[in-house]
C-alpha cells in the first residue's frame, strides 16, 4: 500500500515534524475550544511515542537508519541518523513527554491559568527541539535544535511562580546563552578546520589533525558548554532556581529530559565526533570523572540543606547527573553501560518524583517538606509512588537505581578507581538522609494531628502516569536483562570499540 510506505519510509523525520506541526497548530486548536489542547498534546505525544518505538525496533532489527533531508547526500545535506544511542534517548523523550502530557491537565489549569494553550504549544516545541537535537547527524542542525529546546525551556520556566519564575528563567537564559555560544564556537572551529558539518564525516577527517590546537580548543568549548547545559557541579548555579520555580509539569519535563539530552549530546560529541582515544589522551575523561564525583557528593550534601521539595529534587538532580557522567568518564564497557542505564533510570525516577511534588502542591499548596505530616494518610497512592521512586533514587535492590549504581560501582572497580566506589556509597547514604526526612514527615507525624486527616487523593489523570512510572521503576529493577543485553551493552561496545556513528 503506497500510503503506508510513505509513512514507514519517513519515520525518522516524522519524529521531529509531528511535534513541530502539532505545536504550531495548538493555538488554533485552543482557539476552537479551550479544553482541546490537552487532548491534542496527548494525541501528538502518543503518535511520537509510536514513531520512536518503531524507529528503535527498526534499529535493533536492521541496524542504523540514515535519512537524507531534501534528498541531498550526507556531507553536503543534513542527515538524520538513528542508531541505538539516540534511538533509545528518543524513546525516553517521547515516553516521558507522553506521561507528563497525561498528567498535565489539572496541574496546568491551576498553575498557569489562562495560558494553557500557550503552555501546550511551547510544550510540543520543546519536544521538537529535544527530538531534533537527539536525532540529527549534522552539528549545525544540532545547534539550531539546541536553541529551540533552550528557548522553549526558558518560556516554560518563566510561566512558573510569579516573579521568581521570571528571574530563574532569566538566569537560565544568561547561562544557557553562554553555553550555547561555547558550543557554537566549538562548531565554528571544527567547521573551519574540517570544512564539514556532518558528524560521521567529521569523525573521519579529524584524526589527521588531532595535534592541532584548534581541535583541542573546540573540544574544550564543547565540554564547557555542555557542562553548563547539564548542570555539572561547578556550573550548576542556574539549575535549582529553574527547577524550583517552573510550573510543576514543566519541572517534571525539564528535569526528566533537558539534562538527559545534554548528556546525550556530550557523549555524542565525545565519542562520535571525536574518538574515545583522543578524549582519553587529552585527559578530558579524567577531568570529567572527578568533576562528576564532586557533583555527586556536593549535590547530595546541598540537597540535605533544602526544605523546599522541588529545590531538594533539583540538587538531587545535580548529583544524579554526576552518576551518569561518572560512568562515561570511566570509559570502560561496564561503566558506560551503567551510565546509559542511569540516563533511562534517572529520567523515570526524577520525573516520577517531580510529578509527585506537583500533585502534592496541587492538592495542598505545600512545597515545604516539614509540612508534609500526615500526607501518607491523605494521599496514599501519591506517597507510595514517592516511596518507590525515592527508594530507587537511593538504590535499594529491586529498583532501577540499584542496577545502574551496581554497574557504576563495578565499572569503577574495573577501572581500578576504588575512590569512586566510596563516592557512590557515601552518596547513597546521603540520599537516605535527605529522603528519610520526607518519609518521616509523610508517615510518622503526631498521631493526634493525623487522626482528623481524610483521604483526599490527586485526580486520576495525575495518578495514572505516576503509577506507571513507579511500576516501571520496579519492573526495570527486576527485569533489566533485555535492555542491557540488546541496547546498552552493544551500545557501550560500539561507543568504545568502533566509536563512530555506525
Amino acid at each position: 500500500m503506497a500510503g503506508f510506505e510513505i509513512i514507514t519510509n519517513n519515520l525518522p523525520v516524522f519524529a521531529v515534524v509531528v511535534p513541530l506541526i502539532a505545536g504550531f497548530l495548538t493555538p488554533i486548536v485552543g482557539w476552537i475550544d479551550r479544553r482541546l489542547p490537552w487532548y491534542w498534546v496527548m494525541l501528538a505525544m502518543f503518535v511520537v511515542l509510536l514513531i520512536t518505538l518503531s524507529n528503535l525496533v527498526t534499529v535493533i532489527n536492521s541496524g542504523t537508519i540514515h535519512y537524507k533531508l531534501g534528498g541531498w547526500d550526507p556531507p553536503f545535506g543534513i542527515e538524520y541518523v538513528i542508531d541505538l544511542l539516540n534511538g533509545f534517548v528518543c524513546l525516553i523523550i517521547a515516553f516521558i513527554g507522553f506521561m507528563v502530557s497525561i498528567y498535565s491537565v489539572e496541574s496546568v489549569k491551576k498553575e498557569v491559568p489562562g495560558k494553557t494553550t500557550q503552555f501546550y504549544s511551547v510544550f510540543l516545541l520543546l519536544i521538537t527541539g529535544l527530538m531534533g537535537m537527539t536525532i540529527t547527524g549534522d552539528i549545525f542542525n544540532f545547534y539550531v535544535f539546541l536553541e529551540i529546546s533552550s528557548l522553549t525551556a526558558y518560556a516554560l520556566i518563566a510561566m512558573g511562580d510569579r516573579g521568581d519564575g521570571v528571574v530563574a528563567s532569566f538566569n537560565y537564559l544568561i547561562m544557557g546563552t553562554v553555553a550555547a555560544s561555547f558550543i557554537l564556537l566549538g562548531i565554528g572551529y571544527l567547521y573551519a578546520v574540517t570544512g564539514t558539518l556532518n558528524m560521521a564525516d567529521m569523525q573521519n577527517l579529524l584524526p589527521s589533525i588531532y595535534e592541532s590546537k584548534v581541535v583541542l580548543a573546540a573540544l574544550a568549548f564543547f565540554m564547557a558548554g555542555f557542562s553548563i547545559k547539564v548542570g555539572l557541579f561547578p556550573l550548576h548555579a542556574w539549575l535549582p532556581d529553574a527547577y524550583t520555580h517552573a510550573p510543576s509539569t514543566a519541572s517534571a519535563l525539564i528535569a526528566g529530559l533537558m539534562t538527559k539530552v545534554g548528556v546525550y549530546a556530550m557523549i555524542r560529541f565525545m565519542f562520535c565526533v571525536f574518538t574515545p582515544a583522543f578524549v582519553i589522551d587529552v585527559n578530558m575523561t579524567e577531568i570529567l570523572t572527578w568533576a562528576a564525583a564532586l557533583a555527586i557528593i556536593v549535590g547530595s550534601v546541598l540537597a540535605i540543606a533544602q526544605s523546599d521539595i522541588k529545590r531538594m529534587l533539583a540538587y538531587s538532580s545535580i548529583s544524579q547527573i554526576g552518576y551518569i557522567l561518572l560512568g562515561f568518564g570511566l570509559v570502560n564497557v561496564i561503566g558506560i553501560t551503567g551510565g546509559l542505564l542511569h540516563i533511562m533510570n534517572h529520567a523515570l525516577m526524577k520525573c516520577a518524583l517531580f510529578l509527585v511534588a506537583g500533585a502534592v502542591f496541587y492538592k495542598t499548596d505545600i512545597r515545604n517538606i516539614y509540612q508534609f505530616q500526615g500526607l501518607g494518610k491523605k494521599m496514599p497512592v501519591t506517597t507510595t509512588v514517592f516511596l518507590i521512586a525515592a527508594l530507587s533514587m537511593i538504590g535499594v535492590p529491586g529498583t532501577v537505581g540499584f542496577t545502574s549504581k551496581w554497574y557504576l560501582a563495578l565499572g569503577s572497580i574495573v577501572a581500578d578507581q576504588w575512590i569512586f566506589v566510596a563516592v557512590i556509597l557515601v552518596s547513597s547514604l546521603l540520599n537516605i538522609v535527605y529522603f528519610w526526612r520526607i518519609f518521616d514527615n509523610i508517615w510518622f507525624g503526631h498521631p493526634h494531628e493525623i487522626e482528623n486527616i481524610k483521604r483526599d487523593e490527586a485526580p486520576l489523570t495525575m495518578l495514572i502516569p505516576m503509577v506507571i512510572l513507579a511500576i516501571l521503576c520496579v519492573y526495570f529493577g527486576f527485569f533489566s536483562g533485555y535492555p542491557i543485553e540488546h541496547i546498552f551493552e552493544p551500545l557501550a561496545k560500539t561507543l568504545l570499540g568502533l566509536g563512530g556513528v555506525p
Binding site: 519517513n10 488554533i28 533531508l69
Partner: protein, 156 residues
C-alpha cells in the same frame, strides 16, 4: 476610540509609507529563492510596517488591523504551509523537503524546486510577521481608559 497624539505630518507620512513597506516586504519574500532576502527578512519588514502603524495610531487602532486571533492563526498557518510543503514532497515519494520529487512540471524539476521554495518562504514570512507583531503587542503597555498609552497626556 483613541485620541491621536502625533502630528498630522507623521500620520500622513506613515499612512502613505505603510503600503509601500508591505509591498517591499512581499518583494523580499518572493525574491528569497533567487537572491538576497527571504522569508525571515521579508516577514520582519512586513511586521515592522504594522508595528509602525500601531506606534503612530495607537495600539487599539493597530489591533483593529491585526487582531490577536488573526495573529495566532497566521502564525500557525505560516508554519503549516512550510511543513505542508515538506509533507507534499513525502507524498510524492521524495524525502522531506525534496522539492524535485513533486511532479508539477515533469521536465523541469529545478523550476518546481524554485516554486516550492517560494511557497516555503511565504510560509516562513507569514509566521515571522505574525510573531513580530504579537511580540510588539505583548510588550506594549496596557491601554488606559481613552485607549491611550498611560503617561502620554502631558506630551505635545
Amino acid at each position: 476610540m483613541s485620541r491621536i497624539q502625533e502630528s498630522v505630518i507623521i500620520r500622513t507620512v506613515v499612512r502613505i509609507m505603510v503600503p509601500f513597506i508591505e509591498l517591499f516586504a512581499l518583494y523580499v519574500i518572493m525574491h528569497g529563492s533567487s537572491g538576497p532576502g527571504g522569508g525571515f527578512q521579508g516577514g520582519v519588514i512586513f511586521g515592522a510596517a504594522i508595528i509602525l502603524y500601531a506606534m503612530i495610531y495607537g495600539i487599539a487602532e493597530g489591533k483593529k488591523k491585526m487582531s490577536d486571533a488573526l495573529d495566532k492563526i497566521l502564525a500557525s498557518t505560516g508554519l503549516t504551509i512550510y511543513a505542508g510543503t515538506g509533507l507534499l514532497c513525502l507524498f510524492f515519494g521524495g524525502m522531506f523537503l525534496q522539492y524535485g520529487a513533486v511532479p508539477l512540471l515533469p521536465d523541469n524539476p529545478a523550476k518546481v524546486a524554485a516554486l516550492l521554495i517560494d511557497l516555503v518562504e511565504i510560509g516562513i514570512g507569514t509566521t515571522v510577521a505574525a510573531v513580530m507583531i504579537s511580540l510588539f503587542f505583548d510588550v506594549s503597555p496596557p491601554e488606559s481608559e481613552e485607549g491611550e498609552l498611560p503617561g502620554y497626556e502631558g506630551v505635545d
